[in-house]
Symmetry: C2
């Protein structure tokens, strides 16, 4: 396992800024800009929601036409620029144009991301101010500002960095920021993430590095099962280190760290729950079962209340759409990340409840870090999904999100 | 529209009881028995969850083998008798056997239903007491006791009755009780319901009457999207009125009343929300879209908070799995049951937000009865789904359900 740090010092060739332009009522940071002093190879994964925000549509087109010379990414909070029609597209394009004018690059070289309330137009006077302030503030070491500036209901910035090595021992830096909090569902690159590296890499290998990591990181976390209109993960490689990764590189550990941070800081979350599913016919089936458990409001509220109501887990498995036989199933509750199997409690075996120590179950359910392990049969398929509980605070936060 | 009453006086030939046998800690009623003095034609619809409770498996088999001479139904709360293996089956059969011994009928003529916590065995000493007490308490007018005895987190009993008429003006009675509260998902006969009539009808017509009503009543309500292991709706016809319904009868109004009661009394619900979807290619697509909206935690919390955050509705539509074009969509928010279209607020049209009066939207969102109308295109498909909001109380109730 590569050592991944929760901070970012600097990544050669990249300058960043996070500023306050008035989108948030307080003086909190609300506009971020990431700039590379040379063209970047770029890759992106986007929401599969049919209702896509304007910045998603703009970025998808630009990455298609222009995947090897991206220079900047501008990100705003508070307004998702989704369900905003042609005016929304025009506003996204104008944002990129302003960035390109100030940075002296082509507007096709600028990507945009937005997050926040759906169905309102971007306040373009504030966006204009954000562009100007951010360009002026660009620096090597402002990653935490940028990570803060993309937060919505996140309570803390999400950053990670690590070092990549070729087989010959040459290195490059890779770093990423992300925001999460709510509207996080299976089968999508969740909410916003931006990963940069000074590695040299082809467009194809970069895309492969991103997509291979996403399936079991950003696409294996669940907060509430709602799928956003804006989810985007971008990856930029500027080659400034001079190290070329001909076979690509592995970004899974970095993505995992960011994805886990998102679940731990999800709206109202008090517990991180790891769901391991084994013994299905294939990975996809295991993931579908894990997602059924992870999206169940009854399972999530039971974890919040610390009640080892495991019958709800089995009921969720039964409606997952994957064929299962209760008589072939086994379910364990384990403390922590579940890596000490001997500490686990066997709750259900061969279609029958197992006698188990309710006191010990209660102790485990009180932890902030809990693992469920479910065996469904003798197949080779397995999957792990991270999720959180459903708390009073989730309801409070989302009952009044716009107000 | 037939006049449906929220009470049940008596249905000729049926005797009922609701008693306390110790399943609930308080002295609340917890065991119900329904008995017919002559054999009944019977029909049932059951959960589609692959993990089926023991009473579901027993009833399915008995209705298959013996659909025209059912004499009694025994129902207990607090224990779902699900995930209980062969012992669970044996306990369900023993319950029916005790009932048959006391009533002097064959054990194959007795059905059983259970609701409550999954994964514990029935306490058979209490069940034995319940059978004895209930047989002793059987009477013509104890329908409210029976309705109370099947409640779990329901706050009030759910009953309805009405009169059926043949074209010639001959009549019969039909009456039903139900319980709901949580673990209620689309595409299932939700939780427990029992409908009885003194009409004469064939097995085929009775089944048709039940299934045709279920699709847009019990299968068109959503509380939390979780699908129970125990859901069962049974319908019994004993022919005591002497009126034979050769063409069957329509039970939709009665079922609608019970289904609506379930949503209004759902766990923690403060609002009844009617979701009308129009303009899809067919009914199934419209229902799938309505269900995506109805199961969205973000939509449900926004309703709880009284926030007209309509972008979440559109985002839910976009991930419903049904092909939609935002540019063809229109969304209205309406007070009450939405039958006065002129009072509605147009929020979204042709892919763009409509300017609307936020004060008026807030007024509507404060009501206990709200309608969303969504047009998706120009198709003929439409569907209505009833749902409720997701409140702090839902989290409280389900965080500590077993304790």
């Amino acid at each position: 396992m590569t050592d991944v740090k929760p901070t970012i010092e600097s990544v050669p060739g990249f300058k960043v800024a996070g500023v306050h332009c008035g989108l948030k009522d307080s003086d909190a940071l609300d506009f971020a800009l990431i700039y590379s002093d040379r063209p970047c190879v770029a890759a992106g994964v986007f929401t599969t929601n049919q209702v896509k925000a304007a910045p998603v549509l703009v970025d998808q087109e630009r990455l298609q036409k222009n995947p090897t010379s991206i220079r900047a990414v501008a990100i705003n909070t508070k307004c998702a620029n989704a369900c905003t029609g042609q005016q929304g597209i025009d506003n996204a394009l104008q944002t990129a144009r302003w960035v390109s004018e100030r940075l002296g690059c082509s507007e096709d070289e600028v990507l945009v991301m937005s997050t926040g309330v759906i169905g309102t137009q971007l306040p373009m006077d504030k966006i204009r101010r954000g562009v100007d302030l951010a360009v002026d503030a660009l620096g090597d070491n402002n990653w935490e500002d940028a990570a803060r500036a993309i937060m919505t209901t996140d309570t803390r910035p999400k950053m990670a960095s690590t070092t990549l090595s070729t087989l010959e021992g040459k290195t490059s830096q890779v770093a990423g920021i992300a925001k999460g909090a709510g509207m996080i569902a299976p089968n999508m690159a969740t909410l916003l993430g931006l990963i940069v590296t000074d590695a040299g890499i082809t467009r194809e290998k970069l895309y492969e590095s991103l997509t291979s990591a996403v399936d079991f990181t950003f696409n294996s976390i669940v907060v509430d099962g709602d799928m956003s209109t804006n989810d985007t993960i971008l990856m930029l490689a500027n080659g400034a280190s001079g190290t070329v990764f001909e076979e690509g590189f592995y970004s899974g550990w970095l993505c995992h760290r960011l994805a886990k941070d998102i679940v731990q800081d999800a709206e109202g979350a008090t517990k991180l729950i790891r769901i391991n599913v084994y013994g299905t016919s294939d990975h996809k089936s295991a993931k579908q079962i894990a997602n059924a458990i992870a999206t169940s409001p009854l399972v999530k509220t039971a974890f919040y209340g610390g009640d080892a109501n495991w019958g709800r887990i089995i009921a969720a498995v039964g409606r997952s759409g994957i064929s299962v036989e209760p008589e072939q199933m086994a379910l364990w509750l384990k403390p922590g990340d579940g890596s000490s199997p001997s500490e686990g409690l066997l709750l259900f075996l061969d279609g029958m409840p197992e006698p188990y120590d309710e006191m010990r179950a209660s102790e485990i359910m009180k932890l902030e870090n809990i693992t469920i392990s479910l065996v469904c049969g003798s197949g080779e398929g397995q999957a792990t999904v991270l999720t959180c509980d459903l708390s009073h605070d989730y309801v409070s936060i989302n009952g009044h999100y716009r107000t």
